[in-house]
C-alpha cells in the first residue's frame, strides 16, 4: 500500500538496486542519471566534487548550438521558398525569414535529422555499454547535435543512420569510447557520407528542401552554395551580400550558414572556458593567411581569369570566414578537447594549420568545394605528434637552462668560485 506513495524518483532508485549486476544495468543507469542525480555517495577517501563534469561540459556546448539549430530551421524554409519563388525584394527578417511557413519546413526536415542522429547514435552507445559492461558515456550528446547541423538538408535519413553507426563504431568505440578517439566522430560521420554518397553531399541540388526530389522535372529547384559558384568561376551569378553571408541567409549545410550565431556561440564557449580560444584565434589567422596569399597571387597577375582557380583565389580573403563551414568547423569541431592538441603551443600550431589547409583545399581541389572537414580530420591525426614535439622541445629547453645555470654559493662573495652544475 505504501507503493502508491512512492515517487517516480524513489521507484527508479529501487529499480536501480534491482538491476545492479545485471546485463542491462548500464542502460538503466544511463536513463536514471539522465533524469536524476544518483543517490550514491563514495565511501572511501575524500573527494572534491567538480561542477564542470563531462555532462555539464557537453550541455554547455549544446546550449551554444541551440540558437544555430533554431536559425537553421528557419533558413531551411527560407532557402526552399527562395529557390521556388525567387528571393524576396526588400528583405525583412521579421516578415520574410521568421515566418511559420519557414519554420514548418525546418520542423519536417531538420528535426528528423536530429532525431535520427540521436536515436541511432545513442542506441549504438547503449549496445556497446551493455556488451562491454561499462556505464553509458555522455560523449554522444554533442556529436548527436553536431551531425544534423553539418549535413545537407536533403540527406536521406537512412544514409544518416548508416553513417552514424559507422562514425560511432569506427570513429569512437573501436578506440575505446569517449575520450579515447583519435578522430572527431561528427566529422567521421560527415566524411563517411561524403565519400559514400557523393551525389547527396555536393552539387547544387542538395542544399534546399526538395532539391533532389524535383531534380530532372520541370519544377526543378536548386540552390548552389557560394563556394560552389566560385569553384565554377561563376562569381557574378550570385547576388548574396556580405551581410547575407554574415547573418547566414545563404544555402549550405543545415547549421553552418550563420557566421553571426556561430561567433556568438564561440564567444559563449570561450567565456565559459569550454573551448580553447587559442585554437579559434589561430585557425582564423591561418585561414586569413592562406586567403591573403591567394589574393596576393591574383594581384600579382600570376594567374588569369581563365584559370580554374581564379574564382576562389580572387575571393576576398576575409570572406572565406563567413561562407561555407569554416566558421562552424573552427568553433565547434577544431576545439574538440579530445581530438585537438593538448599543449598551449601545440594549439596555436594545430589551429593555424586547420585554417591554412581548409582554405587551401577549398581553392585547389574543386572536387571538394568545402575542405574544412578534411583539414580538421587531418590535423586530428597530427595533433598527438604536434604535442609530442612541443613537450620534447620544452624538456630540452629546460635541460639546457639547467645545464647552463650557474649557482653562486652563499658563503663566498667571489663569482669565480661559482660552480658549474654538471648534467644529471
Amino acid at each position: 500500500m505504501s507503493d502508491k506513495r512512492l515517487t517516480f524518483k524513489k521507484r527508479l532508485h529501487i529499480l536501480k538496486h534491482h538491476y545492479r549486476g545485471k546485463k542491462l544495468a548500464p542502460a538503466f543507469n544511463a536513463f536514471h542519471t539522465f533524469l536524476f542525480s544518483p543517490d550514491e555517495t563514495t565511501h572511501s577517501g575524500g573527494h572534491i566534487r567538480g561542477a564542470d563534469d563531462l555532462k555539464r561540459t557537453m550541455n554547455t556546448v549544446i546550449m551554444a548550438l541551440i540558437p544555430i539549430l533554431l536559425f537553421s530551421m528557419f533558413n531551411a524554409g527560407y532557402q526552399h521558398y527562395a529557390a521556388l519563388n525567387g528571393f524576396p525584394e526588400n528583405f525583412s527578417v521579421l516578415n520574410d525569414f521568421l515566418t511559420w511557413d519557414n519554420f514548418w519546413i525546418g520542423i519536417i526536415k531538420v528535426l528528423p535529422l536530429v532525431v535520427v542522429s540521436y536515436g541511432v547514435g545513442l542506441l549504438v552507445e547503449f549496445i556497446f555499454a551493455v556488451i562491454k559492461g561499462h556505464e553509458v558515456e555522455e560523449g554522444y550528446l554533442v556529436t548527436g547535435m553536431l551531425v544534423p547541423l553539418i549535413v545537407p538538408i536533403d540527406t536521406p535519413l537512412w544514409m544518416l543512420a548508416v553513417a552514424v553507426v559507422f562514425g560511432v563504431v569506427i570513429g569512437k568505440e573501436v578506440f575505446g569510447g569517449t575520450g579515447m578517439n583519435i578522430l572527431n566522430p561528427a566529422l567521421t560521420i560527415r566524411a563517411f557520407l561524403f565519400f559514400a554518397y557523393p551525389t547527396w553531399m555536393s552539387g547544387d541540388k542538395v542544399w534546399v528542401y526538395q532539391g533532389m526530389e524535383r531534380a530532372g522535372t520541370p519544377d526543378a529547384i536548386s540552390g548552389e552554395t557560394i563556394l560552389g559558384y566560385l569553384a565554377q568561376n561563376n562569381a557574378s551569378e550570385f547576388s548574396y551580400t556580405v551581410s547575407d553571408m554574415f547573418f547566414g541567409f545563404i544555402p549550405g549545410s543545415v547549421g553552418e550558414t550563420s557566421a553571426f550565431l556561430i561567433l556568438l556561440g564561440g564567444l559563449f564557449l570561450v567565456f565559459s572556458k569550454i573551448a580553447s580560444w587559442r585554437i579559434m584565434v589561430s585557425a582564423v589567422a591561418g585561414a586569413l593567411a592562406m586567403g591573403l596569399i591567394f589574393n596576393g597571387v591574383v594581384d600579382a597577375g600570376w594567374i588569369t581569369e581563365t584559370s580554374k582557380f581564379y574564382g576562389l583565389m580572387s575571393f576576398d580573403f576575409w570572406k572565406h570566414l563567413i561562407v561555407g563551414g569554416l566558421a562552424f568547423g573552427i568553433v565547434y569541431m577544431a576545439t574538440d578537447p579530445v581530438t585537438g592538441s593538448q599543449t598551449n603551443k601545440g594549439k596555436w600550431i594545430y589551429g593555424f594549420l586547420i585554417g591554412f589547409i581548409s582554405v587551401m583545399i577549398r581553392v585547389f581541389n574543386p572536387a571538394y568545394p568545402e575542405g574544412v572537414f578534411l583539414a580538421i580530420l587531418l590535423m586530428n591525426v597530427f595533433a598527438p605528434t604536434i604535442d609530442h614535439y612541443v613537450v620534447r622541445g620544452n624538456i630540452s629547453r629546460r635541460m639546457k637552462r639547467f645545464k647552463d645555470a650557474v649557482i653562486i654559493p652563499k658563503d663566498t662573495d667571489t663569482k669565480e668560485a661559482s660552480i658549474k652544475v654538471e648534467t644529471i
Binding site: 536521406p156 548508416v162 563517411f192 559514400a196 554518397y197
Partner: protein, 215 residues
C-alpha cells in the same frame, strides 16, 4: 584410412582461421586492400596465389638440400618470379580484361610477404608433401579473406556480385533502388577495405579470446 593424418590436416586448417596469414599474421595486406573492390578479381587473385604458393613450396622443398644458405633468398625469388610470370601470361591470354583490373598486383605477388614467409619458414625445412599442404593452406587462408572482403565490397559498393546486379538496377531504379537505396561509393575506395579487414579481425578475436595478445 584417412587421406591426411591429423598433423597434416592442421597444416591446411590452421591458416584458414586461427593462424590466418591476413587477420592474424597481418601479411599480404597490400593486395588484399587493392584488388578486392570486385569479387571476381578477388577470386582470381586467390587462385593465383594458391597456384604460386602451392607449387612454389613444392619446388623449394625439393631443392631445400641443395640451395646454399647464403643465396637462398635469390633462389626463392627466381622460383616465385617464374611462377608469377606463368600466372601473368595465362591471365593475359585467357582473361585479358581481368588482368587489366589486377594490373600490377599480379606481378606484385612476387613481393607478397606470405609467399616468401612460407618458403623461409616452412618449405626450407619440411618434406614435399607437407610443404605442399602448407602452401595450399596458407594460400586458402589468404584467399578466403580476399573473397569475404571482395564479397562485401562489391555487394555494398556496386550492388553486384561477380558482375550480376543482385540488388536491382541503380539507373532504372528497380529492386532495392526503387525504395531509395544507393550504392556506397566509399566501399570502392581502398580505405574501406582496410576497415573491412579490421572488422573481420575484430569479429575473429572476439569469438576466440585466445588470439588477443597480452600487452
Amino acid at each position: 584410412m584417412a587421406l591426411l593424418s591429423k598433423k597434416d590436416t592442421n597444416l591446411i586448417l590452421d591458416p584458414l582461421a586461427d593462424n590466418n596469414p591476413i587477420t592474424i599474421q597481418v601479411l599480404g595486406i597490400c593486395s588484399a586492400l587493392a584488388i578486392t573492390a570486385e569479387l571476381k578479381a578477388s577470386i582470381v587473385m586467390a587462385l593465383s596465389v594458391l597456384f604460386v604458393l602451392g607449387l612454389g613450396n613444392v619446388v623449394i622443398s625439393l631443392m631445400r638440400n641443395i640451395i646454399p644458405s647464403k643465396i637462398r633468398i635469390i633462389v626463392q625469388l627466381v622460383v616465385v618470379a617464374a611462377l608469377v610470370i606463368i600466372v601473368d601470361q595465362v591471365l593475359k591470354a585467357f582473361a585479358y580484361e581481368l588482368s587489366k583490373t589486377l594490373a600490377v598486383f599480379v606481378g606484385l605477388i612476387i613481393t607478397n610477404c606470405i609467399i616468401m614467409g612460407r618458403f623461409e619458414a616452412f618449405a626450407l625445412g619440411n618434406g614435399v608433401w607437407r610443404s605442399f599442404l602448407d602452401g595450399i593452406g596458407n594460400a586458402a587462408g589468404y584467399g578466403i579473406i580476399l573473397i569475404i572482403v571482395g564479397f562485401f565490397r562489391e555487394l555494398l559498393g556496386s550492388g553486384t556480385l561477380l558482375g550480376f546486379p543482385v540488388l536491382g538496377n541503380p539507373i532504372e531504379k528497380t529492386g532495392l533502388y526503387s525504395i531509395g537505396y544507393e550504392n556506397n561509393g566509399f566501399m570502392l575506395l581502398s580505405p574501406m577495405a582496410l576497415i573491412v579487414v579490421g572488422l573481420l579481425i575484430w569479429v575473429q578475436r572476439s569469438r576466440n579470446k585466445a588470439l588477443i595478445e597480452e600487452n
